[in-house]
Symmetry: C2
Subunit: 337 residues, 2 copies
């Protein structure tokens, strides 16, 4: 491949002159510029964009830093970001951290090294002070999960409010022994959903029992949800309803119930969260909280674009509407329970 | 942030001298170099890696060009690539093309622009002559799907052999009216699986009937698999077995059967392909062909590394072993069928 030096030699000018022509600077005579263009044409030279971007300090790449893209919850968010990035002239690249903070740091280092113009954090843990050094100098947006103590803009739904609606619905159906399957992570969504679960029980005058709280894995996998539900359902005085913090976990809970001969929703109510496609694979279809995933992704990318262009406050906060979706997996508590 | 010019000004030397010091060239006097180091220290200057990489023509980034990361089939491949890239000192970034050839081209352009050192193509269609221009000059590896006419190395399983085993098993169970759910894409795996299906029927002296072949969507989604199965099962003389080219499609086929009151495997045998986690969510667990996904990813990355270092033939071909896994969704044909 031809280099800029080859072009300079061919056109009998200096490398600096070729560079000036490439940058459309006016200081080059028309005749000289024409000679450079002819040489570029002849040698099929492609200006090295990496070098041009270095000058402009722009890579036109944005990074999506994601912990675990296996969860179907992420797919529409990623599509929303990708489509919007495309419209705005950016390539969106996904950096899969596999839940490792080490790799997350490696991803952020790419901003320092100017290999990307900005980043969207898809599943920020809380309590990560190390991020603060990026806050001032680099355009970063938090999507869905966020650390409220780090000054990055974020877009999410109101997790607390959503779970209060779930709990109100369960109370209306007559449930009192309500379990939850959570996860031992540091996501704000997990904290807010747990707080809403406990506050709702408390306001209803019901105790928060330790043996009604179970935990799925960090990956919210089907298998770990199933195991957590097995523990809940093995109790003598088992719950009549389980609220799961993700649909995949809820699928696991339904599978656990089926294997024990416990019917959903006749004997057990199960409610999920997210509204992924999998909720409608097998009956009972899952009653759940729908998140506007594509819109979350789209708005995160727009916010990042504004940040890159210095037009958005770092404390900016956007809350999108969730949707409580009633399907088949929740029912009235039986009289004899 | 300090620039190289700031450092030069502070150290009272030229930018070229700072550059020589950064590149550890010997032509700079010790006293001058010390002045530059002191200025770097004082101004907290971070050498711009983008520029350094431009000189070395190395970004230490590799791209994974993927069509549709929603399919759980890709998750372990992506992890295999990511882990191996990490060990080899590379960041692996995923470029989600959402099945658009336009975006695929955009991804490949990043190689030209030196934003990445190489690329792994995860779902190459056949018949894409436009790729040939990259073959000579850029390190590219095809993983799982490949175009045999483009001189990129590739790693995959033997799709033809795998489906011949599926068919032999179905014949052994007494099935003769065997349907298949395929997809109208240009993947070599789809062609080879279809050829194996037809060859096996032919050698068994059975006709290849048009109404036994149905098509799921390009995304191999559950919903499209279910719709394809509904068509197959609506026939008067319906098949007693369905071979599906993916597990997600097979899940759809089982759901379609269940809704019609057709029992799997008692009334209908369903076989999948891939062995993703979802095959073991609900009974019947799916009989399927397991692909060594993590290993596919790992080997693709190793091959790419060798290509980057000029140590691998572009025609290199690696075939990994599949595994036929018997679970619950296939059974003997009933006598009255």
């Amino acid at each position: 491949m031809a280099t800029i030096s080859d072009v300079a030699r061919e056109a009998q000018v200096s490398v600096a002159t070729v560079s000036r022509v490439l940058n459309k600077q006016d200081s080059v005579k028309k005749a000289t510029a024409d000679r450079v263009y002819a040489a570029i044409e002849k040698l099929k030279f492609e200006p090295n964009i990496l070098a041009r971007n270095f000058r402009r300090s722009e890579s036109r790449v944005i990074l999506i830093i994601a912990p675990n893209i296996t969860n179907p919850y992420y797919s529409h968010i990623l599509t929303g970001i990708g489509d919007t990035a495309n419209e705005l002239g950016y390539s969106a690249l996904i950096f899969n951290t596999a839940n490792s903070e080490e790799r997350e740091k490696e991803g952020m280092e790419m901003l320092k090294k100017r290999r990307a113009d900005g980043a969207i954090l898809l599943a920020r843990n809380q309590g990560s002070q190390w991020l603060e050094e990026y806050a001032e100098n680099y355009p970063v947006v938090q999507c869905s999960e966020y650390d409220p103590d780090v000054p990055f803009p974020h877009v999410s739904i109101d997790n607390y409010k959503a779970v209060r609606e779930v709990m109100a619905y369960l109370f209306a159906l007559g449930h009192e022994r309500i379990a939850t399957i959570s996860s031992k992570n540091r996501y704000i969504s997990t904290d807010l959903r747990m707080k809403a679960y406990k506050d709702a029980l408390g306001e209803e005058g019901l105790p928060v029992e330790e043996n009604l709280v179970a935990y799925a894995g960090l990956d919210y996998s089907f298998r770990s949800g199933k195991e957590a539900a097995e523990k809940l359902l093995a109790q003598e005085n088992r719950p009549t309803a389980i609220f799961c913090i993700s649909d995949t976990i809820a699928l696991g809970a339904i599978a656990a119930a089926m294997e024990k001969g416990i019917r959903v929703p006749e004997d057990l109510t199960v409610i999920g969260f997210d509204d992924v496609e999998d909720t409608m694979m097998f009956h009972p279809y899952i009653t759940t909280v729908g998140q506007p995933c594509y819109e979350l992704g789209k708005n995160a990318m727009r916010m990042l674009y504004d940040r890159i262009n210095g037009q958005l406050d770092p404390q900016h906060e956007m809350v999108l509407k969730h949707k409580f979706i009633i399907r088949e997996s929740a029912g009235r508590r039986k009289q004899d329970d």
